[in-house]
């Protein structure tokens, strides 16, 4: 890394010098302070850092250079689909017609944006095999909640009020049980079968008149396609329940498996995974939800409607009375949705199928390259990701998956997801995505194989890693047990930072 000077940056407060600054208020009236009512004036000056402009710019640029991102290197963080985000998406989102549109602009001046949203809904419906899509939810988990609230509305509308349970497999994303709980259901966890797949018989046994929905991730969080998914969906519908598909792993099945067509009733899509919108540090996201025809009345409002004359408008209040209502302000995270649209248009149908094929090929290539150095608990054809385990390495050498992940940082790679799914001991979930070259995949496999060798020959170098990162091994346990969340370095004449 080419970071100039100190790699870890002192805070702006620590760099502050009284009287230094980057700008001045021009021509303040002499009696400026007197114009502010006494009661509204502070007793002491605010504790703001004082620096000049280049100091501030260097501070942030140097901080940004400590980041590891998919734009700086390979990022095989399983379950997260850290694919490269093409810059054409950014270009599209910055077009002034989209970027400058006021969210409260009347429909007449928002026609282009409304048309894009309308078309994006149709494209996502085609991909997912669903009949209609809402773009409102702001993230995947928000999409889950929206989907399950529609399931609840569906059962209630039919007078079917005894359905209080949602079934989820034990390998599910934690958001699935959280969603069910938030929507007022009781979560029933179903153990996985020995082959890593859904235990269809256990699901059958748990299905009944109390089941509102099942929530399934396909391919599963182990990167395995559920080979008995048809049976499971049929049993679900026979029991009168609905099937929710967690679309987190959609990147594996584009153009190959359409969940709606297979019999799922509702699913969400993570645009930041499959359609290359930014994963963004908690910033705005999008988790569109697709539904089959019987759930369309419950979709959040307002939807975009196309009039007979080809113009577009948003639904009016009360136009669709069965709707579960609004789940987000305005019409969703427009900037994110524009990026997803650009990605979809740039690829087209055949390009998207190739995306999934390449993602699956890359994962299987890495699985084959790593199988001698690591245990592969489910060593059969995987989809876009697979689990490797260091359980045997740990038994032999004491080196844990956590240590291997830290050592990978020294080798220049972002570690894979570790200790997820929880069902695999010392697991690491590796998802290369479709956007990496063979050279990159080989370099990553070489690094992991090399670390397995180090674990045997020089375990201390692994257990004390990272050695090359801006910081050494963090004490995560103490950080979590005694979190220190406030900066209190301000001393001297200035007042301390407010709490």
């Amino acid at each position: 890394m080419g970071v100039v000077g100190e790699r870890l940056q002192p805070t702006l407060f620590e760099r502050s010098h009284p009287g230094r600054g980057g700008g001045k208020i021009p021509h303040p009236p002499a009696d400026a302070l007197a114009r502010i009512p006494e009661a509204a004036r502070r007793a002491t000056p605010p504790a703001l850092p004082e620096l000049n402009e280049p100091e501030v710019v260097r501070h942030y640029v140097n901080l940004s250079q400590l980041n590891y991102a998919v734009d700086t290197g390979f990022y095989p963080l399983g379950s997260c689909t850290m694919k490269y985000n093409p810059k054409i998406d950014e270009w599209a989102a910055r077009l002034p017609g989209f970027a400058g549109l006021h969210p409260m602009a009347p429909d007449a001046v928002a026609q282009g944006t409304l048309e894009l949203l309308f078309e994006l809904e149709a494209i996502l419906a085609e991909i997912s095999g669903m009949d209609a899509v809402t773009l409102q939810p702001a993230a995947g988990a928000h999409g889950e909640l929206t989907g399950i609230l529609m399931v609840r509305a569906y059962h209630r509308d039919r007078g079917d009020t005894e359905r209080t349970e949602v079934l989820v497999p034990d390998s599910s994303h934690g958001t699935n049980p959280a969603t069910a709980t938030m929507a007022g259901f009781r979560t029933i966890t179903i153990p996985s079968a020995a082959d890593g797949g859904v235990d269809v018989d256990a699901f059958r046994a748990a299905l009944g008149p109390r089941t509102a929905a099942i929530m399934i991730t396909n391919p599963s969080t182990l990167g395995l396609f559920e080979s008995r998914i048809g049976e499971l969906l049929e049993a679900t519908h026979v029991a009168g329940a609905l099937a929710y598909m967690d679309g987190a792993n959609l990147n594996a099945i584009l153009g190959r498996f359409r969940p709606g067509q297979a019999g799922f009733d509702v699913m969400h899509i993570n645009t930041h995974k499959t359609f290359s919108t930014p994963h963004g540090g908690g910033g705005p996201g999008a988790g569109p939800v697709g539904v089959r025809a019987h759930l369309v009345p419950y979709l959040p409002s307002p939807r975009v409607v196309r009039e007979d004359d080809g113009t577009f408008r948003l639904e009016r209040d009360g136009e669709r009375p069965a709707s579960i209502g609004r789940v987000r302000s305005f019409t969703g995270s427009i900037g994110v949705l524009v990026r997803a649209y650009a990605y979809l248009r740039a690829h087209g149908a055949s390009g998207l199928a190739e995306v999934s094929d390449d993602a699956v090929l890359a994962a299987n290539y890495l699985r084959a390259r790593l199988r001698d150095a690591y245990r592969i608990p489910f060593d059969r054809a995987c989809k876009h990701e697979f689990v490797a385990s260091a359980s045997e390495i740990r038994q032999r050498t004491g080196v844990r998956t956590l240590d291997i992940a830290k050592r990978l940082i020294d080798k220049g790679f972002h570690p894979p997801t570790i200790y997820f799914p929880l069902t695999v001991e010392e697991g690491m979930l590796i998802e290369p995505t479709e956007t990496e070259s063979l050279e990159t995949l080989d370099a990553f496999a070489d690094a992991l194989i090399e670390i397995a060798g180090e674990a045997a020959s020089d375990p201390a170098v692994v257990t004390s890693a990272p050695h090359e990162a801006p910081v050494r091994r963090l004490d995560e346990a103490t950080a979590a047990r005694q979190p220190n969340l406030r900066w209190r370095g301000m001393t001297g004449a200035q007042t301390p930072c407010p709490d």
């Binding site: 934690g174 200790y419 995560e476 346990a477 979590a480």
Partner: protein, 126 residues
Amino acid sequence: MVPGDLRYTKDHEWIRVEGDEALVGITEYAADQLGDIVFVELPDVGRALDAHATFGVVESVKAVSDLYAPIGGEVVATNDALSGRPELVNDDPYGEGWMLRVRLADAAQAEGLLDAAAYEQLIAEG
């Protein structure tokens, strides 16, 4: 490594029956699998627990897991030390890392749980 005088669940809780009361905690294997434990959430004293009901949550640097009551009863005490020192569960899972003291609804239920040999076999099978 697995104490012989305790009973166990397949979810890795242990129970030590003492008359009509019992102590409950999680096993060394569970604590080791979870890694460094950073937070333990326990029920209020007086709460009635059914067998297999979730009685709390244990959070480690790796994962958040539910805790399950091995058998039914009423909570008569919880280990307050764990709120400040959750690491006791890692350091001494069968001693200072205990979690609940429960007045048992039916002490004979404990007979249905795993004994040390059966539990050892369970964890050996992974």
